[in-house]
Structures are given as C-alpha cells and as structure tokens.
C-alpha cells in the first residue's frame, strides 16, 4: 500500500521520539535532503524541537538530536517550508464532503469543500468528479449531478490522480520508467 514519504517520516518520528535527520531518513527510506526539509519545517511549526544535544552519527560525524514536541496523531502534519500548518488538500476536503452530501453537483462540492484561505475551483471539482466516476466511486445522477457510492467509501484518504505516465514490466510488475508530469488535458 502506497504511503507517502512524509507519512513514513512522521511515523518514524513518532516511534523514535528523539532522532537525528539520518535516523528519520533511514527509518522512512527517504533521502536525507527530504528528511531535512520536512524536519526543519516541523521545527518552524513548533511540532518538532531541537533538543540542544548532539549525538555521534555515522562516519564519526556529530549530529543534532531532535525530539517530537507535539505529537499530532497518526496524520503527517502538512506544513509549508516556512512552518505554516496547511489545511488538508482540496481533494481531501472534497472526498470528505462527498461522503457527507451523498448527492451533489460539482459546484456543491467546490463550495462546501472551500476554505477562505484555500478555495476549491468548480473546474477542479468537475475534474475530480469525472475521474472518480471512471473509478466507480461516483455515478452520474441526472444532468451535472453525482451520487457517492457508499460501498466505495474505502477509507479516509482521497483517491489520487497520478499525473504521470509509467512504463511497467507486466511480468515483474516493476516500474521501468516514469515520465515527468504529463500535460494531460482534463
């Protein structure tokens, strides 16, 4: 099951309690720059703190020890580089809203899922509804309206639309090549 690097890093931080950047990148199988970016943003957000201690890391280098200052629970906090805590993504908010509304137009969805600081455009709601209909999460119910299919509420996380084309070996299942984000027209 695909989980994001941030989820893996956050889970590692929760489990370790105190950690160096190397600890986080290793436990989450993430690169050290990725761990550095996320931990620094969490420090600015006040969720992780610099413990003030140094520990011996690999190759005899001393490493800064961080500790989890505020455990926010299972979800990896969404933080910007400058430490601002961000709301859930627009798609995440739409996914929750459609489970509550059950029958809706894309406009209903965009309006209920909008935050003043992070509005959802109607076009974005239309695009998401079209994809989720292809994925059988929704079915069309009359002109421009959709019904959420209860049996397809598979969990808390919004289905992702991956904007990449992939070359996959059908024998081994291995991803052989990945393109840059495609300029796929919606």
């Amino acid at each position: 099951m695909a989980i994001s690097k941030r989820d893996a890093m956050w889970t590692a931080m929760r489990q370790l309690g105190s950690f160096t950047l190397v600890d986080v990148s290793r436990a989450a199988k993430a690169t050290e720059p990725a761990a550095t970016d996320y931990v620094k943003a969490l420090v600015l957000a006040g969720i992780v703190a610099d413990s003030g201690e140094m520990v011996m890391g690999p190759r005899g280098r001393t490493r800064k020890l961080y500790r989890l200052a505020r455990d926010m629970g299972v979800d990896a906090p969404r933080v910007a580089k400058d430490g601002r805590v961000l709301p859930p993504s627009g798609r995440q908010r739409m996914w929750r809203a459609m489970g509550i509304l059950k029958e809706f137009s894309p406009r209903d969805l965009a309006i209920t899922a909008s935050l003043p600081e992070a509005p959802v455009a109607v076009a974005e709601a239309v695009y998401y509804c079209v994809w989720l209909t292809r994925g059988r999460y929704l079915r069309q119910a009359g002109a421009g309206r959709y019904v959420a299919i209860e049996a397809m509420r598979t969990g808390a996380r919004a289905p992702l639309i991956q904007r990449i084309r992939r070359l996959v070996d059908a024998n081994t299942g291995e991803i052989m090549a990945e393109s840059a984000p495609a300029e796929e027209a919606s």
Partner: protein, 256 residues
C-alpha cells in the same frame, strides 16, 4: 476601549464563508466547545426534522473545522461504530496503525487520536446510536479525549437523550436546526450564481418551494442559472422564469 470589540463584532465566522444560519450556529457552538473552560462539557447537539439541511451543514462544518465525520447506521454494533470512527481517522487494517482488538482499547485509540489532533468528531444519524444503546460509548470517548463532539439527529433526539442522565449533563449546547430562509437563499445565491443573477422575487418563490431545505434551494439556483444561460439573459426574475416548475423534492411524507 475594550468595549468597542464587543459592540461591533467584526470577527468573521470561525472558518469564514458560508453565512448560512445552521452552519453559523454549529460553528459557533463547536467553537465554544473547543475553547470552553475545563469544567464545562464539550458535546454539542444539532437536531431537527429531515430536510432542514443538517447534513449539508455538517459538510460545511467538517471542512471548516477539519472534523472527523461518521454516519451511524441502524446495524451498528459497538465494535462497528468504533471501527467506523477509527477508519475516518485512517486507523484501519492494512495501514501503518491498525485498530486495537478490544472495544475498550479501541475507545482509547480513537480518544488518543482526537486529543492529539485537536480535531472535532461529528456523529451524524445519532438516533441510531441511541437506539443501539451505544450512548455510553460516546460518553467514554468524550471523557477520554475531552474533544469537541457534534452529534446530529432528528427532532426527537433531545428527548431520547434525556433518558441518559449522565450523558445529558455533558451537553454544552442544543442547536435546533432552522429551516432555510430568504437570508440563507441570498447567501447561497452569492456563492452559486456567478453567471446569471437571480432576482429577489424569484428567490422568494424558491424559498417557498424548498420548504426549508438548503439542498433544494441549491438545485434550483443551478437550474435557474442554466436556463438563464440558454435564454441568454443576465438576470432571471419571476417574469423571466415564467412559471416553470421549481424542484421541490419528493412529495411531503405524512408523519406516522
């Protein structure tokens, strides 16, 4: 002067947007629950007849407060209820953090997540929880987390909850859902109508046809806009609409 702040309340709604009366009432009550002093209870009840936009309000409130949302079912066992709440928190089989095995450990797990995340919980169709005698479970969850919890149910919900004295005492606010009125319709018009303006006279007809339902107003606003675009007009009023039928939902059901 310190009084100037209270005289003119310029504070936007918690979370902003959606100046719908039921949404404002719920957000206000939840905000009060979230900021309450320690000795006050933290449960909020929204109740009212079906069709008054309780679930629509719940959708707005869930977005604004980043709430966990579950809808109770008549078939819910205690375990199913907790699994459902945990799933809304992304704690489920196949994920990094799995649900605990016993009911009591699941309560602890869900309560811990509520407390740590600081996010409220919304339980819709709360009547089923009462009917299934699972009210005490919600109380346990509340006691262990002290989180703000919004319970949504039918008109009779307050009466039903009165039987659970220890639960009843933990309710901070009872919010009676209000039927959608002209002010709500105006607010919805501002949010929905970006292509064709809907005049006040037609809006009043629409409120009457909607019989209190926000959803029916929204459906009609969309239809009127589409018709206006077809007709190539910028404003739709009663005359331009010309007595076409408005969407009124199903025929009103008789109460048993």
């Amino acid at each position: 002067m310190s009084t100037s702040e209270t005289l003119v309340n310029t504070t936007p709604l918690p979370g902003g947007v959606a100046p719908l009366q039921n949404v404002a009432l719920c957000l206000g009550a939840l905000d009060k629950a979230a900021k309450r002093p320690g000795h006050l209870p933290g449960l909020v009840v929204l109740y009212g007849p079906s069709g008054y936009g309780k679930s629509t309000s719940a959708a707005y409130v869930a977005t604004r407060t980043d709430a966990y949302y579950v809808e109770a079912r008549s078939s819910w066992t205690k375990k199913a209820m907790l699994e459902s709440i945990l799933t809304s928190m992304d704690i489920r089989r196949g994920r990094t953090i799995q649900p605990a095995r016993t009911i009591s450990a699941m309560v602890d797990q869900a309560a811990e997540q509520l407390a740590r995340s600081g996010r409220p919980l919304i339980i819709d169709e709360m009547d089923h929880v009462v009917d299934r005698n699972a009210v005490e479970l919600v109380r346990d969850l509340y006691e262990a987390s002290r989180a703000a919890i919004l319970l949504i149910g039918e008109e009779q919900l307050p009466g039903k909850l009165a039987a659970w004295e220890r639960f009843h005492g933990r309710i901070l606010d009872w919010v009676a859902a209000q039927p959608a009125d002209l002010d709500d319709a105006r607010a919805l018009r501002d949010m929905y109508c970006d292509r064709v303006r809907v005049a006040d006279d037609l809006l009043a007809d629409l409120v009457a046809a909607a019989r209190g339902s926000i959803r029916r107003i929204c459906v009609n606003l969309e239809r009127i806009q589409e018709q206006g675009q077809l007709d190539g007009v910028d404003v739709m009023d009663r005359a331009a609409w010309g007595g076409r039928p408005l969407y009124t939902g199903e025929a009103p059901r008789r109460r048993s």
